[in-house]
């Protein structure tokens, strides 16, 4: 059973049709890369799946269960929306760290607030908070930030900020982790450290969808590559199929431009 199944997803902003009839699926533990020129709808696709944007049509299934039904006019309550959003994680292009919290607090804030809803929170508060902190520390260690727990975002490099934001998303153990051009806001010499972290997550079989312009990286890390053009999936397949032997002339033109 696919972990994610997107069917007939569509989205428009006013008269501008940004996503048209998007269909794709992926399996647990897979890495899918989405490539395509600027304005082709990659960000909007991630935002619709993560419910930051309301799709106008289509259905999305998570673990075989109906996750988003954009064909129905029924609105989700804020509570339902939260539960759904918690099962996915999103890493933004420009980090969006919380400036007033240090690195460790950035990672523990959401889990701590979430823990308050546990039925055993009152009786086991100390243990729970301890577990949350230890978990955050071990994730931060895995992205190489053990030395920076007490630093504030303004004291970090772009690459370090992005690693904090990845750790922050991981701390909630999402079923799928989405990245929207995680290296685009970084100086070129800092992209490597982020790609390394993502490779490491792939090796741990974290299910990920990555929007990226790093073609070599997408080739080596992905199980599947999707090429988007003007709001549709113009081509999809294995990295070899899409990146080495593209059939669609538009994919060929796009890759030509990048190389």
């Amino acid at each position: 059973m696919s972990i994610l199944n997107v069917t007939n997803l569509s989205k428009h902003f006013g008269k501008l049709q940004v996503l048209k009839d998007i269909n794709f699926s992926m399996e647990e533990g897979q890495v899918v890369s989405i490539i395509g020129s600027s304005g082709s709808g990659k960000t909007t696709l991630l935002r619709c799946i993560n419910m930051l944007e309301n799709a106008n049509g289509g259905k999305i299934y998570l673990d075989g269960k109906l996750f988003i039904d954009a064909d129905s006019s029924v609105k989700y309550t804020p509570g339902q929306l939260r539960t759904k959003q918690l099962s996915l994680g999103l890493v933004f292009q420009d980090f969006n760290l919380f400036p007033q919290y240090n690195v460790l607090e950035n990672v523990t804030l959401a889990p701590r607030l979430l823990a308050k809803e546990r039925s055993d929170y009152k009786t086991r508060k100390k243990e729970i908070l301890y577990e949350i902190e230890e978990n955050a520390k071990s994730i931060l260690a895995s992205v190489g930030l053990s030395e920076k727990l007490e630093s504030y975002p303004c004291q970090l490099s772009g690459g370090q900020k992005q690693r904090v934001s990845i750790a922050r998303a991981l701390a909630l153990k999402p079923r799928i982790l989405f990245f929207d051009e995680p290296t685009s806001a970084l100086d070129p010499e800092l992209t490597g450290e982020i790609l390394k972290v993502i490779r490491q997550l792939a090796a741990e079989h974290i299910t990920m969808i990555i929007v990226t312009h790093e073609i070599d990286f997408a080739y080596s890390v992905s199980d599947k590559v999707i090429f988007m053009d003007k709001g549709v999936i113009a081509e999809e397949g294995t990295p070899d199929e899409v990146l080495k032997n593209p059939k669609n002339p538009r994919t060929q033109a796009f890759l030509q431009k990048l190389s």
Binding site: M51, T83, Q85, L109, A110, Y152, P153, L172
Partner: protein, 241 residues
Amino acid sequence: MSKFQELFIPVTLSLLEGLGVTFKIFTLTLLFALPLGLIISFGSMSKWAPFKFLNGLHKNGNKLIAIISNFKPISFLIRILVWVIRGTPLMLQLILFGLGPGLIGIKGMNTFVAVMIAFVLNYACYFSEIFRGGIEAVPRGQYEACQVLGMTRTQTFFKVVLLQVVKHIIPPMGNEFITLVKDTALANTIMIYEITWNAKRFMASKHVLWPLFYSGIFYLLFCGILTVIFRQFEKKLSYFD
């Protein structure tokens, strides 16, 4: 004994008495204008558009329907209010509230209450713009990050947004507080016996000018203390940006 020596103690006592009234106007204005300003700022950002349902009708480009469907009455009215209050002299508003009720035959309105209404309304409007600026300065990405991290709206506001707003508004608030200290002097025009009124009293009765300049020292000290307090706050929040 010179006239100066003779008058110094009574003038000082009288100005201190006036300072009490000044301080009262200052604190009461803040006490009511800060929360009212927050409410006004929410009103000015209100997105309530009761005719939004007409939206579907202007597909074929009817401009008038488009304008009506986007009309936000609360935001519109609040912005008119803020425009009028900020666009006219506080002095004029003080006179309107202080003397206006008497002119249209409403008797027994307490002058101090009238002064407070004018001050609170005026400052609430200025504060509302500062709050709005502070709230709008928090990037949308902060809200979105909270959302994908499963935080509720209340948690988002209190745990993430609020402190960033506070940091943004401290410098302009400091300015407004200091302006308010000096604006309280306007109350003397409608017979409120604050510092400046007391200083002017000696000008008229004893024909001396110096009590007026002397009163400046009281304002200076008052504002000096505020400046130090605000600088302290600013420093406390300077660890992030």
